[in-house]
């Protein structure tokens, strides 16, 4: 492939690619990390062989794409132009797909998505209730591009924003458009990208850096991974545009080593870009030089903090430094460095192509555009959700997420990972954007959204996040390191039933001190899960401390297992499965748990058939004495 020397060359190439795929049937199979855990690699392999053996190679194009969003239905396939969506594929389904749909365009009913509420089969992807309320302007492109194909991206109009910027616009004009769009950083704090770019642009010095932050570490969040895996070119195009605007000639992609596919796909993308002359010297004949290096992070959550990330790129320990002088002025090697999240960069080409007016029409007053959330936890439909800013939590959880499984009651939703907080049912109509979430004591974070049902203990949740942070804090400053240690001690004793009356006050005092005195954003937000759960679920803390009762029956030391004699059918299932033989009884003889022997592993609770539900969890009171003394 000869290097592209101008915007016209790029357009010529695009027309050529389009004419090549014109009239072909296209099948996009999800083959990202989430798909692969469900065997999508085998499906893709089978498709390649089957298309070959049925002689459809000229008529069909196979795309192995990143995640489309609805992760739990993967491996899924999307067939264009009909837009037929098949879900939950297995290699056995492949011959039929090829012979029926790919060659004849017929729909295979049994592979379609079945909507649980009505039992109806839905053929078109856009009609699936999970996708319907979404507007997938960023993530949606994952459907149209093969993870390893630059041609697919160019066919989609990729790099046209870059070509436009390099040939027609000055760096100030680019910054003006980005600032005009009011794009806010998708990494968590929500700082306006245009202002940050401007600061870096105006900072003295010629040596400047631009960085993609793909060190996504929040438990339960994976939108950056899916974007970087599925459509790396969109992120890299944004990066080059940013570099041009800022005046940088060296960029970094800081990606977690734990994301091997993302690392691989970005590296492939960079190789292709070099071949096409989209990175390196004299990009598209404009005279602008820019290099990109992929830097793999060594697995530290704190390295997602900008100054720690830059220290890590320099080869030092990933530890934050105080940012009284911003990294935009003094970052990597004390040179001005502009860092943005994967999703922020991916938004940039869209804004440049469609204009800042188009972008600022989406979203709310203070937060523009869309945001990708990873909707996980106790919700029917889990996956990546891209919605305009300002959609209510209720819509996201009930309309897109399909509500809570098993008819359970919704309790809370945790947004923003370990830095965020919990939001109770009373705030479900909150319009999700940067400001509303922080007003509720939580934060946007990178977009994790963990839904919890009535079986969740909020003290236990706070304890989980504090445990996570105890390990992931860098340990440099006292408020964060010692504060988290003490919080863990206090939360542990509350969950053990040894909580003291002062504990809630101690947690609050510690939390407030950490919020104001910690060195970096990790410490400043580390107390959010604790403070927000105290704010909204104080009664649960009090029940743990005063009544020694865990309302959700999660904290093991406060919970006892008990077999309801009225419901027990003496079926022997729990009796046989008990690992410590604490259950006595026999065939036709009532089962009784010997509380002294019981280790509270919960096996009997899991094993008791749903139709009996005889094993129950009790907290806050003694298990009732058995009706009769069990034999033996």
């Amino acid at each position: 492939m000869p290097r592209l020397k101008s915007a016209a060359d790029l357009e010529k190439l695009r027309q050529e690619i389009l004419s090549r795929i014109n009239g072909k049937r296209i099948i996009s199979v999800t083959n990202g990390t989430d798909g692969r855990t469900r065997g999508s690699k085998e499906v893709v392999q089978a498709l390649i062989q089957e298309i070959e053996s049925q002689g459809l190679k000229e008529k069909v194009q196979l795309r192995s794409t990143g995640c489309h969003g609805f992760c739990e239905t993967e491996p899924a396939a999307l067939i264009f132009p009909e837009e037929i969506c098949y879900v939950g594929l297995k290699p056995e389904d492949v011959p039929e797909i090829v012979s029926e749909t790919l060659s004849e365009g017929k729909v295979i009913e049994r592979l379609l998505y079945q909507y649980p509420a009505t039992g109806q089969n839905i053929a078109k992807e856009s009609e699936i209730p999970f996708y319907q309320p979404q507007s997938r302007i960023v993530l949606g492109n994952n459907r149209f591009v093969d993870m390893e194909s630059i041609e697919d991206y160019i066919a989609l109009g990729g790099y046209s924003a870059l070509a436009k910027v390099l040939s027609e616009m000055s760096s100030e004009e680019v910054i003006d458009i980005v600032r005009g769009s009011n794009l806010r950083g998708r990494g968590g704090a929500g700082f306006t990208a245009g202002v940050k770019w401007d600061t870096t642009h105006n900072a003295p010095g010629d040596e400047k850096y631009v960085i993609v932050n793909a060190d996504e570490g929040d438990p339960g969040a994976y939108m950056d991974r899916s974007l970087l895996e599925g459509n790396p070119h969109s992120v890299l195009e944004g990066l080059i545009i940013g570099a041009y605007a800022i005046g940088s000639h060296q960029g970094y992609v800081y990606v977690r080593q734990e994301y091997p596919l993302a690392v691989e796909n970005v590296s492939i993308a960079l190789k292709q870009m070099r071949e096409y002359g989209l990175v390196g010297e004299n990009i598209l004949g404009s005279g602008f030089d820019f290099n990109i290096t992929v830097h793999r992070g060594a697995g530290a959550f704190v390295s997602g903090e900008s100054s720690a990330l830059m220290a890590s790129i320099e080869g030092r320990v990933g530890e934050p430094r105080p940012k009284y002088i911003r990294t935009a002025v003094s970052g990597i090697r004390e040179k001005p460095s502009n860092l943005n999240n994967v999703e922020t960069w991916a938004n940039v080409p869209l804004i440049l192509n469609k204009g800042d007016d188009w972008f600022s029409k989406i979203g709310t007053e203070g937060s523009k555009g869309t945001k990708i959330f990873s909707l996980v936890g106790k919700v029917n439909n889990t996956g990546l959700v891209e919605v305009p800013m300002g959609m209510t939590l209720r819509e996201i959880i009930y309309k897109i997420g399909g509500g809570i499984p098993g008819g359970k009651k919704f309790k809370a939703v945790q947004t923003g990972g370990p830095s965020g907080g919990v939001i109770p049912e009373s705030l479900l109509d909150l319009h999700v954007d940067f400001d509303e979430l922080s007003r509720a004591g939580s934060m946007m974070g990178s977009g994790g959204m963990i839904v919890m049902d009535e079986d969740t203990c909020m003290v236990d949740v706070a304890k989980y996040f504090v445990d996570f942070l105890c390990f992931e804090s860098c340990g440099k400053c006292i408020p964060c390191r010692e504060g988290l240690y003490q919080m863990r001690v206090i939360l542990n004793r509350i969950c053990q039933g040894e909580g003291m009356e002062v504990d809630i006050e101690l947690l609050t005092v510690l939390g407030e001190m950490m919020r104001e005195c910690s060195l970096c954003a990790l410490g400043q937000t580390a107390s959010n899960p604790v403070l927000s759960s105290i704010k909204y679920f104080r009664d649960e803390y009090e029940a743990h401390i005063a009544e020694k009762r865990c309302p959700a029956c999660v904290c093991k030391p406060l919970t006892t297992y008990y077999i309801d004699p009225e419901k027990c059918m003496a079926c022997m299932i729990c009796l046989r499965s008990c690992p410590v033989e604490a259950i006595s009884g026999g065939k036709g003889e009532m089962h009784v748990i010997n509380q002294e022997k019981c280790t509270k592993c919960g096996t009997c609770f899991e094993m008791c058939p749903d139709r009996f539900s005889a094993v129950v969890k009790i907290s806050g009171r003694e298990a009732p004495a058995p009706l009769k003394t069990p034999a033996g």
């Binding site: 060296q250 530290a300 704190v302 105080p322 860098c474 408020p479 390191r481 010692e482």
Partner: protein, 274 residues
């Protein structure tokens, strides 16, 4: 000016060659040097209602100390780079519309800055931080505790004497350029380590055997003999061994083998405690 890490800038000069492909050498020189007029400029700031003249490039802590205004700090030392870890030196500043807490050992002075070193907000948090330090190191300066009305810590004891202020590490790296000390572990597991092989070579000769790092340690937990001869307790000697006492047994070991303490009262209090 102490904000820039002198030790590191020297290291960086040889690193730069790696990246110089993309950058012209002229530009680097422009960035590296600040104009002399900037350094000499006088800045007027206001600390606790008192006008203080400071030099541009100074930190708030330096300015306050030059005007005899007390700000407590444990991880700060005049000869070393600021680290900002103990957070005792947090002060409230009014900058523009809002007031916020900043670490005075790192925050650079700026014209018209208003600083409160003992505001209600500051004192409230400083008290909690002192309590946290007390959980690790039971012998915090009594005057300091009295000043902030801390009788005892409300939190559980986590005694391991070292408060991880990092003064010894910075002293070893910046003043001695020996790099014998460093950190290991993350979060609540963070510890100071001594690189044993280097320590055996360097420590016995350092300051004529008196070891400079001991002179900066606020807790006095760096044992003398220990660092001079290298780690010798325990049967296996790993390459990186904690130089500090980090758990109850280890504390006893360290105290047992160490005869010469810089602060005799430390040993005394420890025996009393037993």
């Amino acid at each position: 000016m102490r904000r820039t890490d002198k030790g590191k800038t020297t290291n960086r000069t040889d690193k730069k060659t790696e990246y110089s492909e993309t950058v012209s050498s002229e530009s680097e020189i422009q960035v590296a040097e600040a104009t002399p007029s900037e350094i000499a400029a006088d800045v007027n700031i206001n600390i606790n209602g008192k006008n203080v003249k400071a030099k541009s490039g100074m930190t708030v802590l330096e300015a306050a100390r030059s005007a005899d205004i007390f700000i407590p700090a444990l991880c700060y030392h005049e000869e070393l780079s600021s680290y900002g870890a103990c957070r005792l030196c947090m002060v409230e500043i009014v900058s523009g519309r809002r007031s916020r807490l900043v670490a005075s050992c790192l925050y650079p002075v700026e014209e018209g800055l208003e600083v409160q070193t003992e505001s209600e907000r500051v004192v409230k948090h400083r008290k909690v931080i002192l309590e946290l330090i007390l959980t690790r190191w039971p012998w915090v300066d009594k005057n300091l505790l009295e000043r902030y009305d801390v009788q005892e810590s409300r939190f559980v004891e986590n005694t391991n004497f070292c408060i991880l202020c990092g003064l010894c590490v910075r002293y070893c790296n910046e003043v001695k350029k020996a790099n014998v000390l460093g950190y290991i572990g993350r979060g609540t597991e963070r510890q100071i380590v001594i690189y044993a092989e280097e320590a055996l070579k360097v420590c016995p000769t350092c300051d004529g055997g008196a070891m400079g790092c001991r002179s900066v340690c606020p807790t006095g937990i760096i044992p003398n003999e220990f660092a001079q001869t290298g780690p010798r307790f325990g049967k296996k000697v790993p390459l990186a061994y904690p130089a500090r006492a980090y758990e109850e047994n280890n504390v006893r070991d360290v105290l047992y083998m160490v005869g010469d303490w810089r602060m005799p009262w430390v040993q005394k209090s420890h025996t009393e405690r037993k």
